[in-house]
């Protein structure tokens, strides 16, 4: 399998002579260069095929498998993960979702030949308000579309053979005035566009972030992706895929952070004793580990939901992205406290930590800011309060079985709103009735269930103004709290569906009890005193996994 093969080719991260080890990653970052040795490894396994659907000759069939392949890449070098592949994926999903047969074929051939596609959404003046974008593609007197405007901070803008550009294709107001254009650099006349200078950055320094400026640049007639004017809809459907997989891949950054911190803790003596023996240090390790498990559980359930509950995905993808990005950011920050001065030293044995710390923000809230994700969930909440949360059917149990079979990915079935459906909420209620749930787990589970009840009352009463960007700041707490409830639902149900497999790490109630305890704390509830034996067991697990040199995730790799 590709993930194992990648790990093998990347080799021991701690070997200073390894051309794809931490020292080499750090040196490329210091120079602000693309990590060439890493790209060679990805070329060698034909990584681009992971982004191309199977029916077009690639290996993209399941989002959970895609995440599994990319996690080791992010663990080694987040800039490699974003700069090599994910930026092409962000562009390509628009083509898979909306392109015609020939456009899909062109992009598949380009990627399978090792090429790149740039995702041209971002304009500095508009941030995530992409419907406010200025780049236009309007017909000239001869009827040919002409591009005018700029795209900025675009990964691989200068070296991608093709680009997907989000542009205004009608001057009418409303949500049917934009389209995606699939343009190949070789088809654009020289002189009608120019490359902008590279944008220097503090994180992801190995990613070539550039831009393009167009002036009356004509594009071929077959450039528009899908139905002209349907760009906002295509974007909102495509983003469901990318919001699902990107944060899931970025959990590799927390894994790397745990590995570095465990190494430091193992080696460090303070006050005549090992750092690993200090309860405070163990609690930080345990918390970060549990946060990783929560992220993985939520990411996996969300990815499986895209296959099994595509018409509810608009809700889950954005809620998950918000919650995972938040947990990763907080957890890596907490780990930095263990490292002391080592967390900001730019070289030496632990220098890789500060690089990951700098790479995390663009990995986790680049592409879609957390507030943007909350803004996608918020307007759906009143209808959930009126419908789904008052009772409904639990989803198919396969959604909670990591690694289990899945129906094919269907871009056509992704919709812009869950339409008042939220099957996962019914699974939370059902978990309360499950037999043999340990008392402390059940107590935390009740916190999540009560939270959903409170959310139902508050969301049903939301005023129209509070559904949009005019929402009062405290109202954005509602989708954030919903995301926490969704995470608790994912964790408890993955455990319930795994506990019959006694040899499995997942079957043990310890991780899920700790996970729901953390989530209750995030919801502002007092989860009661810390069970010290949990901290000890979880921290010991972190150290053992570090010594084995394996991953820290729920599912082995």
């Amino acid at each position: 399998m590709i993930a194992t093969e990648l790990e093998r080719r990347f080799g021991d991260p701690w070997d200073s002579g390894n051309p794809t080890g931490h020292a080499a990653v750090l040196a490329a970052d210091e120079r602000g260069e693309t990590f060439a040795a890493g790209e060679q490894v990805l070329d060698a396994v034909g990584l681009n095929a992971e982004f191309v659907p199977v029916d077009l000759g690639g290996r993209l069939a399941r989002l959970d498998h895609l995440i599994q392949v990319m996690r080791p890449v992010f663990r080694r070098d987040p800039a490699l993960g974003l700069g090599y592949g994910v930026s092409s994926l962000i562009a390509a999903v628009n083509v898979w979702a909306a392109g015609d047969a020939s456009q899909r074929r062109r992009v598949a051939d380009l990627l399978l030949a090792g090429g790149r596609v740039a995702a041209g959404y971002h304009e500095l003046a508009h941030g995530n308000d992409f419907a406010g974008n200025d780049l236009s593609a309007l017909p000239g007197p001869d009827g040919v579309l002409r591009l005018n405007g700029r795209k900025e901070v675009i990964a691989n803008a200068g070296r991608a053979e093709a680009m997907v550009l989000f542009a205004r294709t009608s001057s009418e107001p409303g949500s049917r005035s934009h389209s995606q254009l699939l343009a190949e650099r070789a088809d654009l006349p020289a002189g009608a566009f120019r490359d902008l200078p590279r944008f220097p950055t503090s994180g992801m320094r190995g990613v070539q972030l550039g831009g393009l400026e167009f002036r009356d640049c004509p594009v071929p007639a077959d450039t528009v992706l899908g139905v002209p004017g349907h760009g906002v809809e295509t974007a909102l459907r495509s983003f469901q895929i990318t919001r699902t997989v990107l944060p899931a891949m970025a959990t590799g950054i927390l894994e790397a952070g745990l590995d570095v911190t465990a190494r430091f803790v193992d080696a460090r003596m303070l006050y005549g004793r090992s750092l690993a023996d200090m309860p405070h240090i163990r609690s930080i390790l345990a918390d970060a580990f549990v946060d990783l498990l929560i992220c993985e559980c939520l990411a996996t359930v969300t990815a499986r939901s895209v296959h099994l509950l595509p018409d509810e995905t608009s809700l889950y993808a954005s809620a998950s992205k918000y919650f995972i990005a938040t947990l990763l950011t907080d957890a890596v920050y907490e780990l930095s406290r263990v490292l002391g001065a080592q967390f900001y030293l730019r070289d030496g044995e632990y220098g890789i930590f500060q690089k990951h710390l700098r790479d995390l923000p663009p990995a986790s809230f680049g592409h879609s800011a957390r507030a943007t994700c909350l803004g996608t969930v918020l307007p759906q909440l009143p209808r959930l309060a009126r419908k789904a949360w008052r009772g409904g059917d639990a989803p198919p149990s396969e959604v909670y079985r990591p690694g289990g079979p899945l129906p094919p990915l269907s871009f056509d079935r992704l919709t812009l709103s869950s339409g008042g459906r939220d099957s996962h909420s019914a699974a939370l209620t059902a978990a309360l009735d499950a037999p043999d749930v340990p008392a402390d787990l059940r107590r935390h589970l009740l916190v999540a269930a009560n939270e959903l009840g409170t959310l139902g009352l508050e969301c049903a009463a939301l005023a129209p103004r509070d559904l949009t960007v005019d929402a009062r700041p405290e109202v954005l707490e509602l989708p954030a709290r919903y995301a926490a409830v969704l995470a608790a639902t994912a964790c408890v149900n993955v455990w319930l569906h795994s506990r019959d497999r006694s040899e499995d790490f997942l079957a043990d109630p310890q991780w899920v009890t700790a996970a729901l305890r953390r989530i209750a704390g995030r919801l502002g509830r007092d989860p009661g005193p810390r069970p010290r034996h949990h901290d000890e067991a979880l921290a010991a697990d972190v150290l053992a996994r570090h010594r084995r040199g394996g991953g820290f995730g729920l599912f082995g790799l």
Binding site: G174, V232, P379, R383
Partner: protein
């Protein structure tokens, strides 16, 4: 639903839609012109999705979430809904 029942439904649907649009736009229903694009009242893409959900619940039907984007006035929405319901009842009659 039968085609013959649609005609009386239409005036009440119009006033219901004016009330909903006025609610989201924070205006009086009397200020809402059914022939004017909802974007003129500041109803952005988010409100359009919410209005679609309200309309689905009100009529007990399933609509494309983008129905308000494609039919951006109250008149256009009513025409679309009537055509859709009329079409489905004709199909039911034929079956």
């Amino acid at each position: 639903m039968h085609g013959s029942e649609l005609a009386p439904m239409e005036p009440s649907l119009r006033s219901w839609l004016r009330e909903r649009v006025a609610h989201y736009a924070r205006r009086e229903p009397a200020d809402i012109d059914p022939s004017v694009s909802l974007t003129n009242y500041g109803l952005d893409s988010v409100y359009a999705l919410s209005l679609c959900g309200d309309l689905e619940d009100h009529l007990g039907v399933v609509l494309e979430p983008t129905v308000v984007w494609d039919h951006p006035t109250i008149e256009a929405l009513i025409a679309h809904v009537e055509e859709m319901l009329g079409g489905s009842s004709r199909r039911m009659d034929a079956g």
